[in-house]
């Protein structure tokens, strides 16, 4: 029978894949940033599960640094979202083709 740790590793894989699908298929820039957050959450879940299984502290300490990186990322990402929305008048990623060719 599947134990808790196997279940949670499976959940981390499924959540990471869900976030990855969201990053690829969604057109709205804000939702894409949210899907990146879902992927980060999956990584945190994997770290915590492995740390709890092996009863070691470094995996738990690592999650703290993931939170710091996520906080920085969201501050910069939201600033970029607001700037792009003001410049283009849209959050649609299909309009972001200025770098083409």
């Amino acid at each position: 029978m599947m134990n808790d740790y196997d279940l949670l590793i499976g959940l981390a894989i499924a959540t990471f894949t869900t976030g990855l699908i969201g990053v690829v298929v969604r057109r709205n820039l804000l939702v894409v940033v949210m899907c990146v957050e879902v992927m980060l959450n999956a990584v945190v879940l994997a770290f915590v599960t492995f740390a709890a299984r092996s009863q070691s502290l470094p995996g738990v300490a690592m999650t703290f640094f993931i939170y710091i990186a996520a906080a920085c990322e969201i501050a910069v990402a939201m600033a970029i979202v607001v700037l792009l929305a003001k410049r283009r008048g849209s959050l649609d990623l299909a309009h972001g083709d200025e770098l083409k060719g």
Binding site: L8, T18, V24, A52, L57, A61, F64, A75, G89, D92
Partner: protein, 166 residues
């Protein structure tokens, strides 16, 4: 399998799927909040209360509030609200499925970790032990993290201080 972990894990997966499929960003953001709270409950069930508290305070309390403020600042008649999915949906789902299978094979065939204690004591994951380790073993990482936060604030300020049209 613990029933509470199973229930909260199911919630976490359902709300993660809702983040991807819901049309309105505000609803997607609320689904993301629910996903994060479900994960915090899973961490609490694993006796890792430090991370559960970080999850609620930092992610739900700070990151999501910032995101919801940004959603409220922006126009809700955007074309991306009407046509939700891009034309890369099918290749994206195929590639993501391949990634999921590869990750599953990798993680389940990896070398097994030492078996856990039956009822894990809160020992290494208690607040006092975590704080002592953080101020002794991880003090340099902690200082670097504060520098990273300062850089993030300066970067956000620099981006927002740009004039539109330049």
């Amino acid at each position: 399998m613990s029933i509470t972990i199973g229930i909260f894990a199911s919630f976490a997966l359902i709300f993660a799927v809702l983040v991807v499929v819901l049309r309105q960003p505000m609803r997607a953001a609320l689904a993301l909040v629910a996903h994060m709270i479900s994960l915090a409950a899973v961490f609490a069930c694993l006796n890792v209360h430090v991370v559960a508290l970080f999850q609620v305070l930092i992610y739900v309390g700070a990151v999501m509030v910032l995101m919801i403020y940004t959603i409220m600042l922006l126009d809700d008649s955007d074309p991306s609200y009407v046509k939700v999915f891009s034309r890369w949906s099918v290749p994206g789902i195929v590639v993501a499925t391949v990634v999921m299978v590869a990750l599953g094979v990798l993680l389940w065939t990896a070398a097994p970790v030492a078996p856990a204690v039956a009822n894990p004591a809160p020992g290494p994951f208690g607040f006092s032990e975590f704080s002592i380790a953080f101020m002794s073993r991880y003090w340099l990482h902690f200082e670097i993290a504060t520098a990273l936060l300062a850089i993030g604030i300066v970067a956000a300020w620099t981006i927002l201080s740009q004039r539109v049209g330049k």
